[in-house]
Every structure is written in C-alpha cells, then in structure tokens.
C-alpha cells in the first residue's frame, strides 16, 4: 500500500518536473526571474578566462562519492561544470584536468571530456589522463590530488563534490601555489572547513547554481528557479507545522 510519504514524494517529483519543464521552455520564463549576482562566479569567470589565455589548466575535482550513493548529486553538478569548462577551453593548448576519488566518476569525467573534443573535431588533442583517479579512500584521494595541483600547470582550482574535512588538503595545495579556488560541497563538514579555508566558498544550495552561472544550458537556470519555488512551499509547510503545534499546545486544537 502506498503511504503518505510515498504520495508526498511523488507529488514533489511531479511538481518539480512540471515546473522545470515549464520554466525551461524558451520564452516561457517570466521576465522578472533573473539570476542574482554572486561575486564568486564573477571571479570564477575571470580566473577561467585568464587561465585559458595563459595556456594553463583548470583543475576540477569531483569528490569521492559513489554514483550509487545519495550524495552523488554534487558530483553530477561537477560533471556539468567540467563539460562547460572543456567547451570554453577547447581552443586552449592545455585541456582541463578532472580528478576524483571514485572509479565511476573518473570514467564519466574522461567520457565527458572526450565527448567535447569529439564534438569539436579535435579528438587527437584529447588525453585520457585528463580524467584521473587520485585515490580510493578519502585521505588518499585528497593527498593524491595535491601533486596534481603542484605539478599540473594549474591556474584555476574548482572543488565540486562530496568530501569530508580532508578536503582542506586540496585547498591548501592551491593556497600554497596562490591559485584561485572556488569550492563547494553537499557535505556539512566539508562546507564548514571550506568556509574557513577556501578563497571563494559556496554554501548550501549555491552548489547547484554553478552550471547555471556558467551558462551550461537553460534547464540549469530553470532548475534554480524551480528550487526557489519549492523552497517557498517548504517554508510555508514548515511555518504551517509550527503554527499547528503552537495551536495544539495553546488552545488544545487537533486536526484529524
């Protein structure tokens, strides 16, 4: 039998899907729906542009979450960003570099990069080692990524994925080389660490804004607006719950 949680889950998925479709249709988006300015993304664009101009590399690290875990959404956001960065730096001498701590993410990153090069008719430029596995445990992954930053001709460092507090090692490697770093994660411990340590940390759901601000495709922007609508619905539900509990305690009213 379908429970109330299942019905609510289906409703959430349907409402989110319909909103995403509607807001993603060209010309359907209300004019007042625009993306607010986030200074971190302005600095990211500038850093990526300078990196490409200098013939250096953008390094993106995707974390160590398995694709089978619920925490993989951050890595998928990272994957979209990687594809966009590869599109931007296709004319550059140095392709972007993707590192991860999970085999499936390594394969996906190689596949995404190869797709971009194939699409641009420059498959010969593609190097399989542009997508790398740097370690299979959280610490070996973090420590294994440090030499990539030190030796890899990197000038922009982007951290998008699921990490633990060990992510600080990756960040510190970039700090020592004076490399610009934008960092975000879905993990609370990593967010806390990155807030204190990273040059440009993104907190909470700002993580999901990265592809939209990098102008990946219109569905990413639609996704952000849908997220905003759902958040207001959630806020209303939470306030309704608080009001209900207060009424119950103060007046003894119960709804059955």
């Amino acid at each position: 039998m379908i429970g109330i949680e299942d019905v609510l889950g289906i409703a959430l998925v349907l409402v989110a899907g319909l909103l995403l479709l509607a807001l993603g249709i060209p010309g359907w988006k209300p004019r007042h729906l625009t993306l607010r300015s986030i200074p971190a993304f302005v600095r990211l664009w500038k850093s990526i542009s300078l990196t490409i101009e200098d013939g250096k590399r953008v390094h993106l690290t995707l974390g160590n979450s398995s694709l089978l875990k619920a925490t993989n959404a951050s890595a998928l956001v990272g994957m979209s960003s990687l594809e966009r960065i590869a599109q931007l730096s296709i004319a550059s001498d140095s392709p972007p570099l993707a590192t991860s701590g999970e085999g499936s993410l390594t394969i996906l990153s190689q596949d995404s990069l190869r797709y971009i090069y194939r699409r641009a008719n420059s498959l010969r430029q593609f190097d399989m080692t542009s997508g790398r596995l740097t370690g299979v445990t959280p610490y070996s992954y973090a420590v294994g990524t440090m030499p990539v930053i030190y030796d890899g001709n990197v000038s922009t460092n982007i951290l998008i994925g699921n990490y633990g507090p060990e992510v600080i090692y990756i960040n510190e490697a970039a700090e020592r080389k004076g490399i610009y770093t934008l960092a975000t994660s879905d993990s609370l411990s990593a967010q806390a660490v990155l807030y204190a340590a990273a040059m440009d940390p993104l907190i909470g759901e700002e993580l999901f804004a990265v592809p939209a601000y990098m102008k990946f495709n219109r569905y990413h922007e639609a996704s952000l607006h849908t997220q905003d609508v759902l958040r207001w619905i959630l806020v209303a539900a939470l306030l309704g719950g608080v009001a209900y509990v207060l009424l119950q305690q103060l007046v003894g009213i119960t709804f059955r």
Binding site: M1, I2, D6, I10, L12, V13, G17, L20, L21, G24, L67, L68, A73, L76, M79, E83, I90, G103, S104, T106, I107, L108, Q110, D111, S112, R119, A120, N121, M128, T129, R132, L133, T134, V136, T137, Y139, V143, P165, E166, I168, Y169, E175, L188, Q191, V193, Y195, A196, A197, M199, I203, G204, E205, L207, F208, Y219, S223, T226, Q227, L230, L234
Partner: protein
C-alpha cells in the same frame, strides 16, 4: 563547433532505467521492486568494475610520470612498487587473509590518523587566514561561534545547566547548529531532486553515449 546528437539509444536506456528505479522507491509493487533490485545490483557490479578501471588509470598516470624525460617523479616509482607488492600479496594471500589485512591496516591507520592530526592544525591556521582575508561581521561571527561552541561542547558549562534560566539558554544555543544544518540539508535535498530530474529528462547528460 560541430553539433552532434548524443547517442539516442544510450539516452533512452538511461532515462528508462532511472524512471524504473525512481518508481520502485514510491510504488510498493513487487515486480517493479524486483526489477529495481536487479538494476541496482548491476549498478553495484559496474561501480566495482569502474573502480578497477580507475585504478588502472592511476597506474598509467604514474608510469607516465616515471617515464617523463624532463623530471621523472621519484614518488611515483615508490607508489608503483608499493602498489605491485600490495597487489601481488593480495592475489597470493587473498584480501580476506588476516595477516594481509593486519599489515595493510597497520600501515594505513597510523598514516590516516596522522593526517587527521595535521588537519586540526591546518584548520586553525585556515581560520586565522580567513580573518585576514575576509574582514567583515561574518568572519567575526564565525570565530565567536567557534569559541562559544568549543566552550559549550567542551563541558565547561555543565555545572550551570541545572540553573533555571541559564540551563534553558544553553539548551537553546545547542539547538542552533542543528537548525542551521537542517536548513542547509533541505536546500541540498531540493537541489539533488532537481539534478536527478534534469538527468531523467535528458536535459543533463553526464555521459557521451
């Protein structure tokens, strides 16, 4: 840039599998859940194979680094030698062998514990650097909250918890990070749902097909 359509069959399979697995979570229909279990088991096998491919990639990267004529990496030689010894011993003794496990964990655990210890110092240093870099009320609030929660979680206020007003205040302060964490997690959950939906709709394809 030439526009090419991504393989439509791969996209169709990915969307169909995604929909079946998603439906299996919400609809308690046994045949659907059986299919979901089979698909997830295949996923587990594929992830295992992907790890092997990833480790092969790791070895190739380090072989290339060793073979670099300008600056061969000495640490990569060490990594390859240790990898070969561990792989050989694992194949010979099997990973379940208690002696093999003992040797591996005796090396791995102290190293990771040391890294954890260094993490504390690095974090303290990073917090100080943040104060220099971001001069504003958020940095001050961050440092004040670190100090307050260190005092509260460190057990220094246990004797005051029985006092009528102070006890309630301490309990309230302890609840603040929980509320904040829940708020962040709700935002992340919504973002995750939409990321999944984009992939189900084929608007986002983290695979070339």
């Amino acid at each position: 840039m030439k526009k090419t359509m991504r393989a439509p069959i791969a996209v169709a399979i990915a969307i169909a599998v995604g929909l079946v697995v998603l439906a299996g979570y919400f609809i308690p229909w046994t045949p659907l859940q059986n299919i979901q279990t089979v698909l997830l088991s295949w996923g587990v096998i594929l992830v295992g194979v992907a790890t092997l491919v990833g480790i092969t990639n790791l070895v190739i990267v380090h072989i290339k680094k060793v073979g670099d004529k300008k600056a061969p990496d000495r640490y990569s030689i060490l990594l390859l030698v240790v990898f070969a010894i561990t792989l050989g011993a694992g194949l010979w003794l099997t990973p379940g062998d208690s002696g093999f496990q003992h040797v591996v964990t005796s090396i791995q655990t102290p190293i990771e514990t040391s890294l954890l210890a260094i993490l504390t110092v690095t974090l303290a240093f990073a917090a100080l650097r943040m104060l220099q870099r971001r001069k504003g009320w958020t940095s001050v609030l961050f440092v004040v909250s670190v100090i307050v929660f260190l005092i509260i979680s460190g057990g220094l206020v246990i004797s005051y918890e029985s006092m009528p007003f102070v006890g309630g205040l301490i309990t309230f302060i302890r609840q603040i990070p929980v509320a904040g964490a829940r708020g962040i997690l709700l935002g992340i959950a919504l973002g995750s749902v939409l990321t999944g939906l984009r992939i189900l709709m084929g608007a986002d394809r983290p695979y070339s097909g």
